[in-house]
């Protein structure tokens, strides 16, 4: 589901600066001797993945549409199961029964000032051999849209995020009783109907503007990689920032006997009907609109004057779905650990797609399969991981991360106890290694990236990323940091793929990996995301697929066999401090902006600059945000930095006296604490208004959907101007970080004992 490659150049990553010495220095968490052994196994492992296998897996997986509930979805799961077993691995399928609506009726028609009926259909492209499988393709629609039959004037709302509605208000335009037309981008799609409904809209159309996803970007399919006129982005509009997974079984696994909500009780369906359309279908609708010319930033690349309405274009929108319960198939492989079998490393990628899904998700799933084959080869050669490895091919990710979420909810107690880390991938392409995730693992994944060779440059993936960061740095400070900081920073995780339940619901340290940045295109969630497209426009020779398998496998192996879990708290403390600074700056800016606007209102600035021929509603004075008490957070951050430093020093001492310390039994006590370090960042009450989300440092934004909000309780309270809640949430994150500091202090003490 995740469009990873678009993030890649920004959420780049990763590795220690002493590259020259890298072969000699022991791996993080390893004694010198075990480090040497580990390195030997890793080198063997990385020689195994073959590009021709990746191509074959992708060809098989994407040969037919394989969405949740389709025959080929099950068929793929069974084929993967067979493959894993063929390689000698212990594999099984875990099924769940989940709500999945599919459309019975879809209609979008312009009824005034002229008649036009939207096609709502992606046509066969002659050159593309799987594009004609219309009988098996899901229609173009947004899953979990409410049923509805509505008629109203159109209002163009840009990306449909809250700030866009504030702009509309300034233009004197309301969406009450209207159907909004919004473009993809600027937020996760599910936010658009949610915010539209909050503002009183009757219905919502989401179209792909060629500026963001079409000819503006490059030549369109099939001549080029980009979205053609009639291409449509399907996708879920489930309210995932409330909770992902089956809408009828929040918080528990959707097993056959699970207690289910009635459809009417489900919290994550949209309130209004919504349909996605192509830019071919959108143009006649937008062209028929009048009203104020859209603000410059709202204008796309259609050859029209973008206007906001309302109307005179009037649209009839009808959506009716069949609300069925469907079976889903997670494929689960388990490689038992020889030394610490109760410490689990989980690695996953989904296998279901909206249609044929070569890029999304077969590019990532194929790599994971090749990792599994690689590990099975090593096992045959006598390799034994210390920890248990679980490999997962998730189903029903596209509808709302359902396969992984139901699995995590079902196994929540075990996972809380045993899970060390979760490593996710999804769509992957060509270019740069992108990593985001838990900052306790930032140093670790920097180490992995240092050992991966970039296929195009033969530099390490880390080095290529570092050089790209130097080139793209926005400020001299960023450039200096890219040159000098031992680790490249990794981004934080919001949502959009299967790490969500692991990280946000249970507090399991997570990473997401993938390649991208040189592989743009516009087939996301369309019938053209298939082998034909992928092998012409993305990682055409699968060399980056191979690099992804090498990255995922190396990370899993290293986590599985380190004596001391390679968690690091200095980078974490540094990162959380930056988030705290960001939030304070945001609050200061918010205060200053309101003070300044109030002053300008008093000076008569807005009245004086009103153009009598343009619509503009004069702003009203607003209460100035109070100062907040950031002391609990500041105090906690100091404790966190002190504890992180103590742990780092103790670790350095343990290293100095040689690896023996790491081999001692008491390291188990340290590891037990380290495993809980991410769990400590959760709170049982969850975030305000969405208790399923328990992580207090990372969450998808309530109004961004995929986009992360760090220290979300505080950040969103401030953004939403809930000052009492902000103060409460500052106290809460303060307590959480104090507890984290205490845990790290304990880990340092235990490690010190082991090192004596």
């Amino acid at each position: 589901m995740r469009r990873f490659r678009y993030l890649a150049p920004f959420a780049l990553m990763v590795l220690c600066v002493f590259t020259a010495a890298s072969d000699e220095a022991p791996l993080q968490g390893f004694s010198p001797e075990n480090s040497r052994i580990e390195r030997e196994w890793e080198v063997k492992f990385r020689a195994i993945p073959k590009t021709e296998n990746l191509r074959e897996y992708m060809k098989r997986l994407s040969a037919r549409p394989h969405h949740l509930g389709s025959p080929y979805d099950k068929d793929n799961a069974e084929w993967m199961l067979a493959k894993f077993r063929e390689w000698g691995l212990d594999a099984k399928i875990e099924s769940f029964d989940v709500l999945f609506p599919t459309p019975k009726e879809r209609l979008v028609e312009l009824i005034e000032p002229a008649k036009f009926a939207a096609k709502l259909q992606e046509p066969t492209v002659a050159a593309d051999p799987t594009s004609n499988q219309h009988d098996e393709q899901l229609p173009t629609y947004n899953a979990y849209s409410a049923d509805g039959d509505v008629t109203g004037p159109l209002v163009y709302v840009n990306y449909g995020v809250p700030a866009d509605y504030e702009q509309l208000e300034r233009l004197g335009v309301s969406v009450k009783g209207a159907i909004v037309i919004t473009r993809y981008g600027g937020s996760w799609r599910g936010i658009k109907p949610k915010v539209a409904a909050e503002h009183g809209a009757l219905g919502c159309l989401i179209y792909s503007d060629p500026k963001d996803d079409g000819y503006y970007e490059g030549e369109v399919f099939p001549e080029g990689a980009w979205r053609p006129k009639d291409g449509v982005q399907r996708g879920s509009v489930m309210d995932m920032p409330v909770h992902p997974g089956d809408p009828l079984t929040p918080g528990v696994g959707a097993t056959p006997d699970a207690k289910r909500l009635a459809l009417s009780e489900a919290k994550t369906l949209t309130k209004i009907p919504v349909l996605p359309i192509s830019y071919g279908d959108a143009q006649p609708l937008l062209e028929a609109m009048k009203g104020a010319v859209a603000p410059e930033a709202w204008r796309g690349a259609l050859p029209i004057t973008y206007r906001v309405g309302p109307g005179p274009a009037k649209v009839h929108l009808k959506v009716k779905a069949s609300w069925d319960i469907k079976k889903i198939y997670n494929v689960i492989v388990r490689i038992p650990g020889a030394v610490f079998p109760d410490e689990w490393i989980v690695r996953g990628n989904h296998h279901d797609a909206w249609v044929n899904g070569a890029d999304d998700p077969a590019s990532g799933m194929a790599a994971l399969m090749e990792e599994a084959r690689g590990l099975s080869e090593l096992l045959k050669q006598g390799w034994t991981p210390k920890r248990t490895i679980i490999l997962a091919g998730w189903d029903a990710e596209e509808q709302g991360l359902i396969g992984s979420t139901e699995w995590v909810e079902t196994h929540a107690d075990e996972l809380r106890q045993h899970a060390v880390a979760y490593i996710n991938s999804d769509s992957s392409g060509r270019g740069y290694l992108g990593v985001a995730g838990s900052h306790t693992l930032e140093k670790f994944i920097n180490g992995v990236a240092r050992d991966i060779t970039d296929p195009e440059t033969n530099l390490s993936a880390w080095k290529r990323n570092q050089l790209a960061r130097i080139r793209r740095a926005g400020t001299p400070e960023d450039r200096h940091e890219a040159r000098m900081r031992p680790d490249l920073r990794i981004g934080a995780l919001g949502s959009g793929s299967d790490w969500t339940a692991f990280l946000d619901h249970l507090g399991i340290a997570s990473l997401n990996i993938g390649f991208g940045g040189e592989d743009g295109g516009g087939i996301y969630h369309s019938i053209y995301d298939d082998l034909y497209w992928y092998t012409r426009f993305s990682d055409t020779d699968f060399s980056y697929g191979r690099a992804l398998a090498q990255t995922g496998g190396t990370a899993v192996m290293r986590l599985a066999s380190a004596e001391l879990l390679p968690f690091d708290f200095s980078n974490f403390a540094n990162t959380v401090s930056r988030y705290a600074d960001e939030i304070k700056r945001m609050h200061t800016t918010q205060r200053e902006q309101i003070l300044e606007r109030n002053r300008q209102i008093e000076e008569g600035v807005f009245r004086a600059t009103l153009d009598p021929k343009e619509p503009e509603v004069l702003p009203q004075p607003e209460p100035v945000p109070p100062h907040l008490n950031f002391a609990p957070l500041d105090n906690a951050l100091e404790a966190l930095h002190r504890a992180a430093e103590r742990y780092e020093k103790t670790l350095a001492k343990a290293r100095e006296i040689g690896g023996a310390a790491l081999a001692r039994a008491s390291v188990r006590e340290v590891n037990a604490l380290l495993m809980q370090s991410e769990r400590k960042l959760t709170h049982n009450d969850g975030l305000p208004g969405r208790p399923w989300f328990r992580h207090m440092v990372y969450a998808p934004g309530f109004y961004t959907g995929y986009g992360v909000k760090t220290i979300p309780g505080v950040r969103e309270a401030i953004e939403q101007k809930k000052w009492k809640e902000a103060d409460e949430q500052i106290a809460r994150i303060g307590k959480i970080l104090e507890d984290e500091a205490a845990l790290i202090d304990n880990a340092a003490k235990e490690l010190d004992k082991a090192a004596r």
Copy 2:
């Protein structure tokens, strides 16, 4: 010719902060008694201009096409002459004979990969009564294009400025032997064929992209104000940054007996053929191109993928003109001064147009006529200006400021001796008073703006501008300045209208005034710039035309009757210091960028971030710019600040002891020095490579055309990496400013004598 309204919101302006006391404080340069008398006359004057007259003048002036050499151009001149005489003014026509090519053949055709012939014709619009005067309309073309018949592959060069060619080089694309297609905007149009020819192109097409000038901005004509599909921007491509005016008589008036260059010797004709085209004609050409996708900033709003080529689109371009000598008609009014008849205040606007020209120039010309009528009314009531006032309606501005330039060159000796200031206007619309000009007059024009009422808000034009600056300030510092600085800053003048010869060739302090910012549209230099358009989409009720007449007239009256000329040197010194700082920062940035790029080349950054599937040429290391000797400039600026302060203190003292001082004969000596203060900023050698441009503080950029370059000798030498020339030019401007400081010191001494 000037598109003033587009500059207006940025080059806004102007007035003293002590508004409350404004009625009491004597006007700058006036004794209290004379200030009172002046104010009374000004109030009478400002009551005279009538919107219905402005509408009638515009209707008359724009009734038929009236370009240089057309029957209606002469007819308009004679009608204005008659009007001025009817009002009792001393008026005459001054004629010159100038080179003016008009097209005999024009052809643009796509010959590969498909056939397409460009229309090169703006169609009649039924609702627009003058759009059908095809027999009298000049065809769509660029005057002073070389004749030529060329065929070559197309290369898209964005705005066609030097930086765009650097980008192309990075993409590995050369324009040698190609025809470039470039869009209007980003520079004055004449720069485009000049830079194209410098890079080896055979020909040049300039089109209006709908992003900059068409449906992207708003509804197109006739439903809206914006440029329709077949609308074309005519315009001169004479190399005006070398010299404006008749190409055959540089530096001297184009009188019948003037010595003329042969056509082949003229320096300001283009080297290659060039034609302007509509976006309707451009789309098939751009659509047929391949090659790299254009950089994001290069993409317009046509529904295509913008690509740079070269080819495969191949174009045949043919231009052939009739190179004739035509007669032009400047209309000149003289109102003799009663006290200082040898001190002249000149006020001008052009009357010729590319076609009907309601906006450009009738909107400004009508205001100037109404000013003339107002002054004639005052004369009848007994008003006598102390100084001589000259009002001018220039011809042939559109082709290269020819009317004003030839007049200035003809009268150069007198003007050097007698001219106090030149006040220009041109197209004017609705919104904010825009002012740019000599900073010695910044304080003066702030004072005028304070007394003009904005028709929409009833605030003073100054106050509305101040509030707009507060709203639009980019930084808190800018906002603070907008609130606190007694004078609003005015922009510097580049070129684009008739001040150029006054200011840049002779060193006569100049101002340009006009209203705009609420009057967008796309009829610039097209057949649709007519009464129909103007009265629907611009200053529809002529209330801003009235405000312009009030502004111009007030400024002229006040300059004409002040005892002490209202020059001020503190704002000037402050402004020049800012320019010097800008230039130093630019030089520092240039050094840092080259150092950084060289470092990145060494680090392998560009090689590592090369996408093997995208064209990119690796940059080569570049010599690091040397440090320059800015000491002569810094020393001179200190002297200038000291002198300005001394003059200001002396003036304050003179004011304290009452107005008597200003009435004394010795003020004449001060005025004589003040009149020369702008002349002192010129150098007889002119700027490097363009001796006609003699002003050392202001000039149009050699590679911007209209856009100003301040301290141009130094700035352009640094931009063009001519380090020796940069050091020489720093010394030169240092000397110029030292001399200016000495003149100001002398003026202060003389004033001190008068005040004793």
